[in-house]
Symmetry: D2
Subunit: 313 residues, 4 copies
């Protein structure tokens, strides 16, 4: 990218990243991220560490005057998220949250169809989001659970595509793939009903294990029509034999499916900085997705629909 | 159909049906349905009158020793439905309920994929069911509402495809197409979450108005895969011009989409009688779909998930 | 069909057809077809016997004043075909030729897109026509070969869809499935290039053995766009598992694929008689398809493009 | 690309390329390509100039010891092409020809299905190749005509996918889009029949103007099945409204459709140099596609099938 240079990568296990960094021509590989924050030449940082480290790092980075790209979710707590954002505001730096799916050309098309009125007024938004394989239980423990870790992308997608806030959430969830999810207070399968501020209804279906590949679909239905997008595949090949007609499976997982989206996401971040524009995925987007996740978790526990906390600006 | 002869059609407005009956070579057209019940030569009757007349007619037909095909729902009330069924049982005649979608080869394929384990254990069942245009408000008033009139087909489909009972229902509904639905205590748009006895989760999305045509899709997702069917179209034509690539819209409405299913439905009814087999869609199927509809209505009113009354045999 | 009654079926091996005729309620089953021609009550006959008996039967039927439906091709010879037609003309009866594909709603849609100018002026017509399995060699011997027996349908389709005569044919053919086809002077695989009177070009690809099922596709490309139709399948099911994403194969063969077309074909024949309209597939259609087949055969033998004999009315 | 650096770009109208070169960070922009050949630091050159300059440049570059990537066709003449290749051989440098479609993942999948026997023995190869808009007549004049300029890609694809040489060609062509093509001895629409050395048959259909976008499809049919690939589109969106169901058009032209292929093409060129491997698209591939184009042109003029000159090594 013109005008952008990767100077330093920090990784607590920097030894493991040595070959990788060399191959990509990374100038400096360090174990301590403070080095980055203290480097006056650096003006942008990407925070891709575990969620529970995000707000501390955001505050430190903001204090150091860096523009910040932070992976989702910002944190598991409203207070910490707001505190971090206050630091960002005070420092006057930019903060972009890593909801990569916003940069997928397919989902963007659906959003545009809704925004431009091609399907009229939105009535129903449907999101299918299924991973190809469940993460290890160790990961699950610290992940914040299905809603905070996985469905949070879908909550953001719901806000992004609908152009409206989610007001209420109801969850039916179960541990159907692995009963141990239940013992961790988590589920691996869920149907999440959404009620939007603009009156539209929404539904998300999640599974941690779609054996046929990463299943990522969105459908928006409205007063004048519907638009849907299906899964991307490696090729368009259709193979017909005496045992059936076969298409490619969906791409395996997020790295394959959202490869282009990750690139656009970073490009738009730098563009926002270079041209001093608003970032395409803001603090508000980060905290609202988080709040829907919190409401979803509460709905699962109580068995009742739950109101989502509004953002008071 | 070999061995079957249509003798008499009763219609209170028989004058209006005269041309139609003549064209089809119907032997006798009458205004009073009692004539059919009293005709010793007739051994099967089709009850296709408004829902509130069903149970009275079933009881009269059963008493007269006729085998009965009755349109769904049997009635709006559990008591009346059970009373009618007792009359059927006592008379020893057959009773088939008109859930025509069970006879659609597409949905039947989905059911078979589930039943034979092709997708493993069922985790998520998704049904999209949208009409092309809302009925008149007069019809809505006496229809029993979205759940009893329209979604009842989807409730039956849920039981049929999953091979399991629905235990709990939660509804988010709204009058987004026509606010007058709300004034009648009804909705025109709904997301219905289901919890099955076998642990699976389900979701139905309904709309009274899909401007692009009758939208009827089912998807079953399980531990070993997923099977989905899309909408049928008149032709397979794909037209590419400088303004886009165009496919046929879905078939307009149920008469077009389920034409073949209606034929199979009737064939299987007669086969059940001729070979003295169990009917493919029984009283139990009728009452259970009704009970899910009742639970859905209650969920809409209370805003809470509602348990479905179990069938005590 | 209203106003139509099947009275007599003649089959030289009538014994074999006994059960079938009884099941369908055929009134009379005979071995000698003369009985039909001599029956004053009968006014329509279907000639579905081997090709070399067609013209004799047409002449006899015409003489007897019967309206005639005759399977394709009328004969293998221009002279015999014209002679038969003269008998038909003289008798003033109707003659419809059995090109069933004209009555397929898919191909009909393609034709209409061409006829109504939806794709502008036709430039390229592509027909894929592959059988699921080759016939026995005994059949091949008396079939008239790939062009007269199988591609003749495609030649008719070419004329039907384009609305233009075929002026020139060039064939590349080979016996790739079974070398014994070659020893009978026949091929089992062919690419046939067509030049139409209206300037458009066409291509047909034929194979006697598509292991995945009956492959019947048409594509028309013109100055303003293109329209194509793919294969029909039993259901619309899409099954996704860890071994791939699977669709239904094309329908097995012509009986499955053209079931509805056969019904429409016969309906339109009777309609033409009842309303004294022109038949939808005429003598001219029969002889022109035959002549293209003859030209194709000559092209195969000579290795050169061959002009198709024009119809002088 | 690691280990690769773009040093100099030569363009006779270098003034026009100034902004572009600056934006991309090209070190040196010159008008005289000799500067590149004379630069000892440069060891690879890309020849992307008009066809009639290719062989002179190849010889000069080879003499200068540069590895060469040359756009297709190498030249319009067999003699010049062979002479150029002798210079390449003598210099011991690498020469890769720019048949970019070989690097498209879709076509590559078709090739692999053929090569690995997934469809059995190849019987029929079908290529659809249509441009969105015809080039200007000035370009047409110096382009070598439809076969040398456009279909040459399809001839290469035919050899690539089939893994066999083309032995014979027959062409039906016409100027249906613009009659002025005819006055230049060229056509804008063509059906090209191919006979392969391995016995398979092939057909290519070309048009200079597909108003709906760049139409690039391949289908391979064999004894055990078929594999086909359709057109790539920008997104997978399906928009359903009351005026129809709409999909994205095919990508506009080669820059969009083959963007990834161009990247892979160049990567494999550099990999061949860095690892001293055979280039993925050789001189032999270049001259054979050229010879098929010459045979096609002769077939158009003579109206007869034409044998393709074999490569004598």
């Amino acid at each position: 990218m013109a005008g952008v240079r990767v100077k330093t990568v920090a990784d607590p296990y920097s030894e493991h990243a040595k070959d990788w960094a060399e191959k990509l021509g990374i100038e400096q590989l360090v174990s301590n991220h403070e080095i980055i924050f203290n480097d006056a030449e650096i003006n942008c940082v990407f925070i891709c560490s575990p969620t529970d480290t995000h707000t501390t790092m955001i505050k430190a980075a903001a204090k150091a005057g860096k523009n910040i790209f932070c992976e989702k979710p910002i944190s598991f707590s409203d207070e910490e998220t707001i505190e971090a954002f206050k630091a960002v505001e005070k420092a006057g730096v930019k903060l972009q949250i890593g909801f990569n799916r916003r940069f997928d050309k397919n989902f963007d098309r659906v959003k545009k169809c809704v925004a431009t009125g091609k399907i009229g007024e939105l009535h129903i938004l449907k999101i299918t989001s299924r991973d190809p394989e469940p993460p290890g239980l160790d990961y699950v423990k610290s992940s914040g659970g299905l809603f905070m870790d996985m469905a949070i992308h879908d909550f953001d997608m719901a806000r992004f595509v609908s152009g409206s806030e989610v007001e209420e959430v109801y969850v039916q969830g179960a541990a159907l793939i692995n009963p141990e999810f239940a013992s961790l207070g988590d589920v691996d399968t869920a149907i999440i009903t959404l009620k939007f501020a603009n009156g539209a209804l929404g539904v998300i279906d999640n599974s941690r294990k779609a054996v046929y590949g990463y299943d990522q679909r969105v459908e928006a239905f409205g007063s004048n029509g519907a638009v849907e997008i299906g899964n991307e595949t490696e090729t368009l090949a259709k193979l017909s034999t005496n045992s059936g007609v076969e298409l490619d499976q969906p791409l395996h997982f997020f790295l394959e499916r959202y490869n282009e989206a990750y690139i656009r996401e970073v490009q738009e971040f730098f563009e926002a900085i270079q041209k001093d524009k608003a970032v395409p995925c803001s603090f508000e987007d980060g905290i609202m997705a988080q709040r829907i996740a919190q409401a979803a978790k509460l709905s699962l526990t109580t068995g009742k629909p739950v109101r989502v906390t509004k953002l008071i600006k």
